[in-house]
Symmetry: C3
Subunit: 356 residues, 3 copies
């Protein structure tokens, strides 16, 4: 769907600087973009690359625009969001092709007669909807998904292939689960007794609120009792693990391979970098930002940045790392000082002796 820069600017809330009649029909990175593509400048340090780019237009901030000459620009208050709007305008969201009608192939799906499926759903062959499950309207459920007994899936959900939703778990509206996600497996609960780990039946469930998206192979334990909960609007990248009884707040961003242990709670707008681990039974405040690979072992206040293992305020973590780098030098200084003191002691002793 080609658009002129004028049309696109209007759509994404930007101003054209340059020729508004140029047409673009695709989004691309600065280095790959050609004359039909719109790109964007993510970071001022790459501003010189704009001049070399073949892009039909580049989305930039007003400040960055001042540094660029002779290039069609779309100037936006929030260039990253404007780029997002351009992707939506020019490419749209993924279209889920309808599978060919049932009469024309032999591959079945299994929908238990006691399950209910809302209007306008696309259920691919080889999905399994168990007894008592409820699927809302306009859902897309890909092959080899399993929706367990009495599970609830809201409206407008997208479940990619090989997703498992265990019995009694609940997904809100507009929840997207990428391939291989598992929701509601038993939590890691055992009581060790006479030398064996006796399983505690995990009789709670897992609840995902509205507008959640989980990357590939994310796993969310069901609670022992009550619910493991993921708050509205939160997004996970791939291979994230959430322990039983944990509660993730609203609008959290959890990058790949994060693990949050059982019963821990995060506030709203918490961000965790890749491979962060959070121990169990902790509280993390609203807006805390935790650097990749940090190991959280105590409660963290909101609104701050943290890093390190164990996690500490980011500035302190950074200072510690710098100090560690200087340790060998510091050891040498200490040795030199010891030598000087020994010499002083010897000198003073000899003086004391020679005096009458």
């Amino acid at each position: 769907m080609p658009m002129t820069l004028e049309q696109l600017a209007q759509r994404i809330g930007a101003q054209v600087q340059g020729d508004p009649s140029v047409t673009v029909n695709r989004c691309a990175g600065l280095e790959d973009a050609g004359p039909d593509d719109v790109s964007f400048l993510a970071n001022r340090k790459y501003v010189k690359r704009v001049a070399d780019s073949q892009a039909g237009a580049v989305i930039v901030s007003a400040d960055d625009a001042k540094l660029i000459e002779n290039h069609n620009l779309l100037v936006a208050a929030d260039p990253y969001f404007a780029f997002r709007e351009a992707v939506v305008a020019l490419h749209g969201y993924r279209q889920h092709p309808k599978p060919i009608p049932d009469g024309q192939h032999q591959a079945p799906r299994f929908i238990d007669p006691t399950a209910t499926v809302g209007p306008d759903c696309t259920l691919y062959p080889m999905v399994y909807i168990a007894a008592g499950a409820k699927i809302g309207a306009r859902c897309v459920i890909y092959p080899n998904c399993f929706i367990g007994p009495n599970a609830v899936v809201g409206d407008d959900c997208q479940l990619f292939p090989n997703v498992t939703v265990y019995d009694g778990c609940v997904l809100g509206n507009r929840v997207t689960l990428h391939a291989g996600c598992v929701i509601g497996q038993d939590g890691f609960g055992y009581a060790t007794h006479e030398g064996q780990h006796d399983k505690i039946p995990q009789v709670g469930n897992a609840v995902l609120e509205d507008d959640i998206e989980l990357g590939a192979c994310c796993v969310v334990d069901r609670a022992t009792v009550g619910s493991t909960r993921i708050g509205k609007g939160s997004k996970f990248s791939d291979l994230v693990a959430i322990g039983h009884g944990a509660s993730i707040g609203r609008h959290n961003l959890l990058v790949a391979q994060v693990g949050v242990a059982g019963s821990s709670q995060t506030g709203d707008y918490v961000v965790m970098g890749g491979q962060v681990g959070v121990a169990g039974h902790l509280k993390i405040g609203d807006g805390a930002r935790i650097a990749a690979k940090a190991g959280v072992t105590s409660n963290l206040a909101g609104g701050e940045e943290y890093g390190g293992q164990p996690a500490m305020p980011w500035k302190q973590a950074r200072r510690s790392w710098l100090s560690i780098g200087k340790l060998p030098e510091m050891t040498q200084e200490l040795r030199a000082l010891q030598k000087r003191v020994t010499e002083l002691e010897a000198q003073l002793a000899s003086e004391t002796q020679v005096r009458p």
Copy 2:
């Protein structure tokens, strides 16, 4: 199934302190529990919450019971195990609903004619049992599970959806694999030769002994030759990776996202916290406890606690962390001392000079 506190106490091996005629029918956390629920006190520091709890009864230790007034209690020697017994008594284990009979739907399963399936199994639609595979009695195998050629599954196993068991692998009795687990994929074995990594066929298998439970998306490599082995009674949380030829002892507890590299061996009753990594070809003794995120790079003796990267005895790891935190302060002290020594040196030099 409501029970009086008297009945429940008898069942779980506890004494009632309060009104034995009160009935409960569910387990719940202290804060969520209502008058029909039984809860438990996990940690003495929360003892004050018992007074505020609406729970019909709370399971506590004898020592904690002395601190609580005016609340129905079930006093047990091991409250966590007693709570586990209460969950079993009031909720029971997960019931696997029988799928509707084959004649009443079109969704098939595939069972190779040379495979054998023991009595009283529940095989859901869309399972695939390959040639020569043997399934024991009373197994439950959910949709989209694949049991490879000549694989063996013991009695009373539960395989949740999307589990893959590769050719020739062996599961003992009472093995539970949660959704997405993969048993017996090829180990990471390549011989680098003339610039390419030539695959070493992985002709061993993976063996899981009895009474094992693995969380969602755990993966266990097959051995190059011989067997990768998981010992009886061991339990993993989610997303755990076990390398080829590794041997995990009996009754180990491995928390989420642990990785154990090839050919390493653990003793019995080893515990690893979340995201622990163990390098290859190491031995870890019986009863070793390894803190979350530790990186094990050498053999570890049994019966001890370890932590850190590289992993060291826990006390030493803790002392190192404390020291790192004090480094900036220590640097300042060293600077101050250097200054004092310089002054002393100057003073002594001038004195020596002035003396005749």
Copy 3:
């Protein structure tokens, strides 16, 4: 397929030291091997185990052979590669049994009429090949695999059960994906705007070049625009996550649970140990070797070894760890020195006083 040591030596490029008429028919580890087995010596420190081994023959280097008496040996320039060749000679590669013909069972597969499938493929029941997908020649695709719309799979690929290839993604020739792998799920791209994280449609794809093998449950994000790319000949172990727009070079080796964030690039022959994390938008040079658990936060030059969090040259990382271990001792030395200086100051002050 039994072979004499003479035959095997010729096949794997080794010399027999001992009796060339001995026959072997299997490969095994040193400790498990019996008289019909050939084994190999991986590390000189285990050379004494050769004498105790029941193996029919042991593959060793010429240098190690000098240390061993009275045992049949196969002396090879590269013993590990020779062992690999022996596994291939005696065991061969995995045979994929043909499923029983379609007419003899009810379990279907779904192949969209607009998809194309090359000659001599083995498509198991319960695979799903979507509209416009292209499968090359001689591929083996196990049950519950999903090949998305317009995806391309080259020749001689092996897809184990429960693999998902998203729409428009491309696999080269001889690509092996172990069970549970996910290729091309949406990257982690959101523009935060007015308090919510608005999804950026991920309109790129993921491309895996020739001769790639991925362990169980590896996940490769599709790019926002353009392609996420894995270079020819690279091999991953299990549970590896590759972010959107990343580019992994040729012949990389990534051990289990590695995560590479979006837009980062690695050169050729890069090796990463288990649980390594690489932050986004970084470049790692050819032949860099990164120790397990390292956290890469800046560009790394090629040809070097790195370790630590944040990652630094390996020697520096090692020296820092040693220094940290000595910190408590160093603190004591500083305290002792402070005391000595205080005494010197006092002594000097009193001397100055007493002198006339």
